[in-house]
Point group: none
Chain length 401, copies 2
Amino acid sequence: MDLEFLQPLIKQNTTKIILLVMDGLGGLPRETDNKTELEAASSPHLDALAKDSICGLQQPVLPGITPGSGPGHLSLFGYDPIRYQIGRGVLEGLGINFDLTENDLAARGNFCTIDAQGKITDRRAGRISTETNQELCAILREIKIPGVEVFVETVKQHRFLLVMRGANLSSHIADTDPQEIGKAPLSPEATHQDAAESVLLVSQFLDEAHRRLQDQHPANMVTLRGFSKKPNWPSMKEAFGLHCAAIAGYPMYRGVSTLLGMDVLETTADIHQEIDTLEQHWDDYDFFYVHVKQTDSSGEDGDFERKVKVIEDVDTVIPRIRALNPDVIIVSGDHSTPAHLKYHSWHPVPTMLYSQYCRKDAVEQFGERACLQGALGTRFPAMDLLPLALANAKRLEKFGA
Amino acid sequence: MDLEFLQPLIKQNTTKIILLVMDGLGGLPRETDNKTELEAASSPHLDALAKDSICGLQQPVLPGITPGSGPGHLSLFGYDPIRYQIGRGVLEGLGINFDLTENDLAARGNFCTIDAQGKITDRRAGRISTETNQELCAILREIKIPGVEVFVETVKQHRFLLVMRGANLSSHIADTDPQEIGKAPLSPEATHQDAAESVLLVSQFLDEAHRRLQDQHPANMVTLRGFSKKPNWPSMKEAFGLHCAAIAGYPMYRGVSTLLGMDVLETTADIHQEIDTLEQHWDDYDFFYVHVKQTDSSGEDGDFERKVKVIEDVDTVIPRIRALNPDVIIVSGDHSTPAHLKYHSWHPVPTMLYSQYCRKDAVEQFGERACLQGALGTRFPAMDLLPLALANAKRLEKFGA
């Protein structure tokens, strides 16, 4: 739904909404008993909540599309993930907790290997160690460019973050990574005339990087892509009238929450401590986003049993959440991460929305197949959840007379 | 669906479609037996029709959005309620049966109270009686403005309708209601340059109103909002090739039907008399819209039992409808009005579409939860119904070769 459409309908209320995101929640059935991770988990409290909720399966972006964490979360937060795209440079910054300002131009950097003719022979420089990366970043960090401040930060292996801080920088710059070996890194090109000066600054950086890395091996050059600036999007407060808190242990999720103007609360990545944080701040906010990372990481490790255990652990905190008596509780994931695939996937995500007014359906178990019978539908846009939460929290005016 | 897309596919036929709108049909379960109004009603004929139909739950506008009667009906009539929005001034005119022409500029007026400094102290003038309103409208009706004819009509309590009739009037004028107390009414401002002259005329009216009401209490001033003109939309005949009749007792619904070029038949708000009207005119039209108001009004009164009774009463006319042997029957509502909420709500509306060719599903009862199992889906756009009706009435050509 367009935020512009919703805007005039927003009204204030004292009701409270909790969005519990179990990262990568959706799964695929294992061979032995044909149950998914969520179906295999013993989760009586999630099932009881499903009984009091409307259930369904949401599609984070579009059919068949496997979302990254950014789009998967944006849609849960009510933002169209196609319209609101986070640039890769900014995303890398969020992922390492770099405090981006509106004067920052961010790019994702790769260390690479070039030959004597300047042609790339390895786009990832043999996936150098993170320690080597740190040494190389220390070298690059010494590059001085008049008029801008330069930050070079290690991400992992061959990946780093470049940030230039200065006035009037533009992100309209094409990637310098040619995306294939045997070609030289591309010169940065402006994709809009407002980037003419920024391109010169980036060129200077690349020339200096080339000079300073030429005796290194295998990482003797860099490529840059995803030039982007911190987006200036409506905050959750502006878009939905909600005073929001994010309770998430990992930098990426804290970063995305910051982009939307949420207050990011001090907490850990342990769900029990996250619920401690929720309880402590219960009076301070309208909307709480609580993030569980381990469902995703166990799925990415292909560890079906561990993912089951994580879900069972999350199940034990549901009574603490319900004891707070929230007006609306949503439980979902930002995407599926089936242990069977060891990766994010496109499969719709089991979802429930609890409220006193939800007009509950007949679903009595929180699982992929049980949710197929739910009132929310079998492949509904994840973006629908936030307006539905607002409605159930009596935070929307009537449309038209 | 865009009317432009459908247009070239429309073909003529002698088939007949009935759309029975039970206003505010959808409900919420009561505590005693967990049944909604529709589920609690003994409605054997609706259930039998459901057995021969495809069923589902429609969403009138968008997820979580509570529709007014205007958008709720437009979507049932196949018009995108977001693209086709009726201005509030026009809507007030429709509601009191004012015969708007294309030269009319309509606005919703509120009597309000201002203090000696001209600041609003009560935006609704203490909700004066409708009788007082009539006296004040008689005063305002004496205002003469050169070049236009002025109509001032009582709506109810503090609400009135202002219509200016003249050449080249524009509705691009911002509301004069500041929407909060402690502020003076705003001067009318053009939101588009074509409204420069109209703004002067509205200003003259407001100056005169101020002068003539200054000794009245508590209603000593007015605010105006929702400036609008009768829209120039494709009629149901133009859009769908249907010669349409509206059978509705209340002015608002008769008015909306008029906007879409339907013939509004003489009838009452009694469903039995409405069916008399339907029978009398059966040979004269392709499409009949039949409106039941009391499902909504009993819901708004919070009277669960009365809403059940209304549904049971409507149930008794279903055999008369079926006896006419219509090709397509749709039964739905323009929105939900759960007695539990005493107000329009966002909940999807139980719906069935009967035709000999509908490929009926397994639903055997017309109710919120039974319809979740239906072939139409759990939250399908209400706008889909009219194209489906046309298809089932064999009034659509194939798309593409």
